[in-house]
């Protein structure tokens, strides 16, 4: 069974978002990594890049397919997870911790509140499977 930590917010495109003041951490959900299969490459954004909510900002490549990662909120990329360069399997092994993708300094710190809750996202995933 996939995990849906309740302290996180989610996008219907399967990213998770964790807010820490005016910075948010972004990764992909347990459900998403399981559906993708073994992750073999992650193309991360550049530090300093600016984004709007919904921008295609990164790409995750699994044995199965290439999938776009969308910016959950507007802001500036302040850090990327350099460990994914040599160890993309961290996305499968630890999707909510070591497998994070990038951090964004948000323009509007209330933007995260409009994203899906764990319960809403889980319901979407379960509907997708049926």
């Amino acid at each position: 069974m996939a995990e849906f930590p309740t302290e996180l917010r989610y996008l219907k495109s399967h990213e998770w978002v964790k807010q820490d003041g005016d910075v948010v951490v972004v990764g992909i959900s347990d459900h998403a990594q399981d559906a993708l299969g073994d992750v073999v490459y992650v193309e991360l954004p550049e530090v300093g890049a600016e984004c709007q909510a919904g921008d295609e900002i990164a790409v995750v490549e699994s044995v199965k397919a290439a999938s776009d990662i969308y910016a959950p909120v507007a802001g500036t990329v302040v850090e990327v997870n350099a460990k994914l360069e040599d160890s993309p399997e961290l996305v499968n092994e630890s999707p909510y911790a070591d497998g994070w993708f990038f951090k964004v300094k948000v323009s509007d710190s209330t933007a995260v509140e409009s994203l899906l809750t764990a319960m809403q996202y889980q319901a979407l995933c379960e509907a997708e499977e049926h």
Partner: protein
């Protein structure tokens, strides 16, 4: 709901991720496709490929019929049970399917792809008109491929312990396996065992009655042979430089454009599609690509030579054995300056002659530009 092999419930109980494959519910992986890939390169794995279509050719004209049906020359096959890989062509030279025929005499044994089953059977029956040759599908078989450096020794130990009745059958199967050359098969007690495969490793493919598939599968897993899904089957065959029908070739291309020229014998022959191949002196070719940089090559990405578009990738993947991405691509020209467009950016690739990997080792060589 798709069709199910006799091992469907085994796959489910192993936690396989199942998906539709040519109308069949098949296992894609059992947890990690990459670990399964390595298991076949380093030890032994078993694939359920019962979705593939087994056909027998009954009648006195089998040899003459195959000479008309196939681009490869059945007349060159001398050893009993020897396997021959061939394209089956339309009258216009397009590849209808690729198949394996085992030279077992009457009846000849043929294995074709599942996605092309209906089309293949209709074509094979149409071509058989006028020959004393009946095309008979044998759907009551299961097919297991056991592949990897330790596959044959493990299979021998299992079938050797198969002490049914007086125990002679197990001994006979072991003797059959020990006597087989690479790319040769033979019948024993209702099982057809052949030293063929789709991975570039040593191994066997076994066609057996479907009611014996579950106990044999259980014995294979008890012996430490790992179940392998169709995901790893695809990366293994790509590393081995083997084409996948529907990706690397189809009816719109000839075998000469599909890196299959070594399976085409034109001289003195009159097979279907031969006239078209004789006239095809200038054509595209299917080449291998290796990318040293990060990223994954995928089907349909555009390929460039010295900056000019020359074709596209037909199959691409991350190669677990090489730790980088590899691909097959159909191109009109090659050079020492080849690139692939990945999401709008040009990435350098090396153009090589497949295969990429054989028996667990990197084997590819740079291709001479033309």
């Amino acid at each position: 709901m798709g069709k199910k092999t006799p091992l469907f419930e085994k796959h489910e109980s192993l936690g396989a991720k199942m998906a539709d494959f040519g109308g069949w519910d098949m296992p894609i992986h059992y947890g990690s496709q990459i670990e399964e890939h390595h298991a076949v390169r380093q030890d032994a794995g078993v694939f359920d490929v019962s979705h593939m279509t087994v056909v027998e050719l009954h009648g006195a004209d089998g040899l003459a019929y195959l000479d008309r049906l196939l681009a490869n020359d059945i007349g060159r096959v001398k050893s009993p049970g020897q396997a021959m890989y061939s394209a089956m062509l339309s009258e216009t030279g397009g590849v209808l399917d690729d198949l394996i025929v085992y030279a077992t005499g009457d009846p000849y044994l043929v294995v074709v792809n599942c996605a092309t089953r209906g089309k293949d059977l209709a074509w094979m029956r149409r071509v058989a008109e006028g020959y004393e040759c009946e095309v008979v599908e044998r759907p009551e078989f299961a097919i297991l491929a056991i592949q990897g450096p330790r596959a044959i020794e493990k299979v021998k130990s299992i079938v050797g312990e198969d002490l049914v009745g007086d125990g002679k059958v197990g001994e006979q199967k072991v003797a059959l396996i020990e006597g087989l050359k690479v790319f040769q098969g033979g019948w024993c007690d209702g099982w057809f065992i052949a030293r063929t495969g789709y991975t570039g490793e040593k191994g066997v493919e076994i066609i057996l009655p479907e009611d014996q598939a579950v106990p044999f599968w259980d014995s294979l897993l008890e012996a430490g042979i790992r179940p392998i899904g169709l995901g790893a089957r695809d990366t293994l065959r790509l590393e081995a430089g083997m084409n996948l029908y529907g990706n690397d070739m189809d009816e719109s291309v000839t075998p000469l454009e599909s890196n299959m020229a070594n399976t085409v014998f034109l001289e003195g022959r009159d097979f279907l599609g031969a006239d078209v191949l004789r006239k095809q002196t200038e054509h595209d070719e299917l080449v291998g690509l290796v990318m040293a940089g990060k990223g994954i090559l995928r089907a349909h990405y555009p390929v460039f030579s010295d900056g000019a578009p020359v074709g596209e990738i037909t199959s691409g993947a991350f190669s677990p054995t090489l730790g980088k991405s590899i691909a097959l691509a159909r191109v009109s020209a090659t050079s020492s300056n080849m690139t692939v467009g990945i999401r709008g950016k040009m990435q350098a690739v090396e153009c090589v002659n497949p295969p990429f990997v054989r028996n667990g080792k990197q084997v590819y060589k740079p291709k001479k530009p033309r």
